[in-house]
């Protein structure tokens, strides 16, 4: 069943796959982000309680969901790398890490910006914001561990182990923080508790979620290509690639003249 994936354990074919995926991912990301954001910000109806300030969910919720999702994806990549000894799996894991951290940061930033009108404070130790913050620390840990090693292959494996330890911890952290929150603040009305959301509000949210996911994938693919090139700079196929690129550049101006 997974046989078709096997060739992509090789860096060269992974690079080719990235090249062919890249335009689709970027196109899809830009299209759905444009549609979702314009629909959400301009055309979706305002919330009867929060007015227009609720519209930040079109950024906040997708980034929050995908910050967790990216971490899980990193852990899956790490597991694949550890079990089947794929260099490209560790490379793609490390390509995802900063993108995921960025998503976490966006979720935290928009959460804080939303908190100001809602709670009157920039930062409240709300359960979900706190778990997002801890998630950001977990991302930092994985990235710091990767940077600390000189041997990037060793670095990938080490960061992979840490990502797996982290992913086991994410649900524990999530529930423990939630529990801690109810213990210390009593029942606060969580701003995210929207049991039923009107479909005209939901659709742009889903489109934006897709857009964010495609955007993460697109950036990951670009970063993965860079990582592969940087790591394999001495390999013949990279040098052939560079040579052929150089050729193209030389040819073009001649045509122009």
């Amino acid at each position: 069943m997974w046989k078709w994936l096997h060739p992509y354990a090789k860096t060269e074919s992974a690079y080719q796959l990235c090249s062919s995926l890249k335009p689709w991912l970027w196109g899809g990301a830009l299209l759905s982000l444009a549609v979702g954001t314009v629909w959400g910000l301009a055309f979706a109806p305002a919330d009867y309680q929060q007015g227009d300030s609720f519209r930040i969910i079109y950024i906040h919720v997708p980034s929050a969901i995908l910050s967790m999702g990216t971490y899980v994806a990193m852990a899956v990549a790490a597991l694949v790398g550890i079990v089947w000894q794929w260099r490209t799996a560790f490379m793609s894991m490390i390509a995802m890490a900063p993108v995921g951290a960025l998503m976490t940061f966006i979720a935290l930033f928009t959460g804080a910006a939303w908190g100001k009108p809602m709670w009157g404070a920039w930062w409240v130790w709300d359960a979900r914001l706190t778990s997002e913050l801890i998630l950001l620390f977990l991302y930092f840990g994985v990235m710091a561990l990767y940077v600390a090693f000189d041997d990037k292959q060793q670095a990938g494996k080490a960061a992979g182990v840490m990502a797996l330890v982290g992913v086991v911890n994410v649900p524990i952290i999530h529930y423990s923080v939630e529990w801690w929150n109810t213990l210390h603040q009593g029942a606060t009305i969580s701003k995210f508790d929207t049991p039923s959301i009107a479909p005209e509000m939901l659709w742009p949210l889903l489109i934006n979620l897709l857009g964010f996911a495609l955007f993460i994938a697109a950036v990951t693919v670009v970063r993965l290509q860079n990582e592969i090139l940087r790591r394999e700079i001495h390999r013949p196929w990279v040098q052939q690639l560079a040579a052929s690129r150089l050729e193209q550049k030389k040819v073009e101006p001649r045509h122009a003249v």
Binding site: D151, Q153, R231, H234, P236
Partner: protein
């Protein structure tokens, strides 16, 4: 254009053959290819001197052959069994760059704990005898960090006397030994080989005739 090429081919080893066999070994360090598709064969009754310039991957090859590191590609088998099989450890001694001695413990304690880990029944008088033959009399109780580098190396090499193993893999065993020590080690090597032992060692100095017949394998530096 830089391409990794196979460096040397001992005859291509078959599975189930006796001896220590590295098959199609490929090793990368810091994304640099040290060697690719390398085959190496160490049989009982032979002494192999692994040579090559600094950075050629002698130590990496050594660590792959004892199973400390796993190669990018290829595998190591010993007497037909995969190198990760615990039973193989009983028939092998590896002495690396690092002496494997804790500076706070004395020579005797270091060797006692090491023997316990390797499940060798050794009395402390036996350890004293070995240390004596290595001219370390009176040094048994001193913390190892207070010994000189050459003396520390001798304590590390004492393992060869304590553990009855066929395969000796020695990474630079002569570092900081004096000429007398080197001569003694060479006679010990010759004796071990004559008793159907097998030795793979690296050293930047050539072996003298005292070590008996030996084979040289050359490892080249590659970009």
């Amino acid at each position: 254009m830089i391409e990794c090429l196979p460096i040397f081919y001992s005859q291509r080893a078959e599975q189930g053959l006796s001896g220590l066999i590295g098959n199609n070994l490929t090793c990368y360090k810091q994304d640099r290819c040290l060697f690719q598709n390398l085959n190496i064969h160490l049989q009982s009754g032979e002494l192999v001197h692994l040579r090559g310039p600094n950075g050629a991957g002698k130590t990496s090859l050594m660590r792959i052959l004892v199973g400390l590191t796993s190669p990018e590609k290829g595998g190591v088998r010993c007497n037909g069994l995969d190198i990760s099989t615990p039973a193989i450890a009983k028939d092998m001694v590896f002495i690396g760059h690092k002496p494997g001695l804790n500076g706070l413990l004395s020579a005797e304690e270091n060797l006692m704990y090491w023997s316990a880990q390797h499940e060798i029944a050794v009395s402390s008088t036996a350890i004293h005898e070995v240390l004596e033959s290595l001219s370390l009399v009176g040094m048994e109780e001193i913390p190892v960090k207070n010994l000189s580098a050459g003396q520390q190396r001798r304590v590390a090499l004492a393992r060869l006397w304590l553990k009855p193993a066929t395969f000796w893999l020695l990474d630079e065993p002569f570092t900081s030994l004096d000429t007398e020590g080197i001569a003694m080690m060479e006679t010990v090597f010759a004796r071990h080989v004559s008793r159907h032992g097998a030795i793979l060692m690296t050293s930047h100095q050539s072996l003298s005739e005292r070590a008996g017949p030996f084979r040289i394998e050359q490892l080249e530096y590659q970009l």
